[in-house]
Amino acid sequence: MRLVTAILIYFSATALADTVLVSLEKDNALAIVDGQSLSLIQTIKIGRRPRDIKLSPDLAKIYVAASDDDAIQVLDARTYQVLGTLPSGKDPETFAIDPKGERLYASNEDDNQVTVIDLNSSQAIKTIPVGVEPEGIAVSPDGRWVVSTSETTNMVHWIDPVTLEVAHNTLVDPRPRAATFTPDGKQLWVTSEIGGTLTILDTASKETVKKLKFSIPGVNQTLVQPVGVLVDQNRRYGYVALGPANRVAVIDAQKLEVIDYLLTGKRVWQMAFTHDGKMLFTTNGASHDITAIDTQKLKPIKSIAVGHYPWGVAVKP
């Protein structure tokens, strides 16, 4: 009986604690951090130059873009065993998965296209030509739209997932780097690395609602390079990673105003929330660590060394 209780406690405890998965671009590895103790548990060798990392909607699989292997690796989310690879096309950096977990959309920067992969058959079903150097990619929560941002064309390309064609383009500020839909699907937030701005688009009209410029007292404006962007589940706060400015901008997601800048490690790149949304993790490429931010108090609480050049981050409940 005591054993059963012990096992139950063990499993309930592990069920509560989130696991933070971080891709290490230079170590060709995956760092696994305990979301409760905020400490590095282990590092697992994976494909070469891993960058974007995401969980399947059913949380059973982990997808990692192994850029130098020209493939997206599929890992078992429990054992971290490599289950196989997906034909992502050349040098995959970022990708997005549709809410049903049926398709994966990868941007191919060098070939100016988006590769669509069917996750059931693990086959590429189409390549969609987009602007020059596609980078950011996102799928709307209702699955109605797939957007790709092209860094050189400076456009958001709206792809219809039914026809798999570009249905609309919206011009944004220079070097659009990342895009995310608000959880209600009503807005698309796009960061421009060179423009130093965040453009908020209305999903229905595809027009700009507001443009936010970031400027931090005491930080050279050229260092303010917005990259990763996320909005919380209740659309209370949005977060923008500002790259070499070593800050995450906090935005009031209703009023669409910058309310704070939080200090992180160097070259802050991508972010992920814990399952309950109470914590946000950032990857800090140049200082080789991740920073845990308390989203209730809007305060960075701990930076954890993980390995060389952390790039992407995903949280497994």
């Binding site: 200090l263 992180t264 490690g265 920073t291 960075p300 609480i301 930076s303």
Partner: protein, 263 residues
């Protein structure tokens, strides 16, 4: 009873002096605030960042130097009280005090405690302003910092007292400024972490690590973030005991420099 009355009298006098010299109060606050608002803002970007205990994540330079500036208040006040002792001696009130039928070490300790309380009070006012400025350690840290502030204040006050037993005239206070306060302050971890000093000069880093002021600052820094820095605690306590013993010895009429001078 008698001893307690003496303690209150000395504390009262110290408080009165403090209240009456409002300029001194403001000056004692303005000094660290200038460092916080101007110096720290200017150096924010140049000092670079790294995570060092007790901090768990990256911090702005303002946050780093706040414990150091709190230490600065204790340092200046410790020295200022040594100045006041020289003044008291010149004015004769010291002689009156020391003729009280109580042990000399006791009277000197009372004087030390009294001025330390005043320093701690000023330190908290400074910390409150720093809080409003955005330097916000955990709330419990403010409570935990109190013993560290008292111990640090006592140590620096004892050093001041020791120095005052050497100083014959008020004018020599400028010397204390140049030869004690500035080297102690700049050659410490108040303004830059030890690893940063290590990068530019290992010798300076070593000297800074032996500087009792550094240890007092680290003690306050860790306490403010809820941690106890054992080494700093020991180092500060031992330094305090040593300075106090030497000061008591220095003030003894038959021994020390008072006697030597008279001779």
């Amino acid at each position: 009873m008698h001893a307690l009355r003496a303690f209150w009298a000395i504390t009262w006098r110290e408080l009165l002096r403090f209240v009456h010299q409002r300029g001194r109060f403001v000056a004692a606050l303005v000094r660290p605030l200038v460092w916080l608002f101007i110096f720290a803002a200017g150096f924010r970007a140049t000092l670079g960042i790294a995570v060092t205990p007790p901090y768990q994540t990256y911090i702005l330079y303002e946050e780093y130097i706040t414990p150091g500036l709190t230490g600065m208040i204790l340092l200046f006040n410790g020295m200022q009280s040594s100045l006041s002792m020289v003044y008291d001696r010149e004015m004769g009130s010291m002689r009156v005090l020391l003729t009280a039928p109580l042990p000399r070490w006791y009277l000197l300790s009372c004087k030390l405690l009294a001025s330390t309380f005043v320093s701690a009070l000023q330190a908290y006012v400074f910390l409150a302003i720093a809080w409003a400025y955005g330097v916000q350690p955990p709330p419990l840290g403010y409570l935990k910092a109190l013993p560290a502030l008292i111990l640090g204040g006592l140590m620096l006050g004892a050093l001041g007292m020791l120095l005052s037993s050497f100083i014959r005239q008020l004018e020599n206070f400028a010397g204390v400024m140049n030869f004690v306060i500035f080297p102690m302050f700049f050659l410490s971890t108040a303004l830059y972490p030890l690893w940063r000093l290590q990068e530019s000069s290992p010798l300076l880093a070593t000297l800074a690590s032996y500087n009792p002021f550094s240890q007092a600052v680290e003690l306050i820094r860790f306490a403010l973030y809820g941690q106890i820095h054992l080494y700093a605690l020991l180092y500060t306590s031992v330094s305090m005991a040593a300075f106090l013993l030497l000061a008591v010895w220095g003030y003894h009429p038959a021994r020390g420099l008072t006697a030597a001078r008279r001779g």
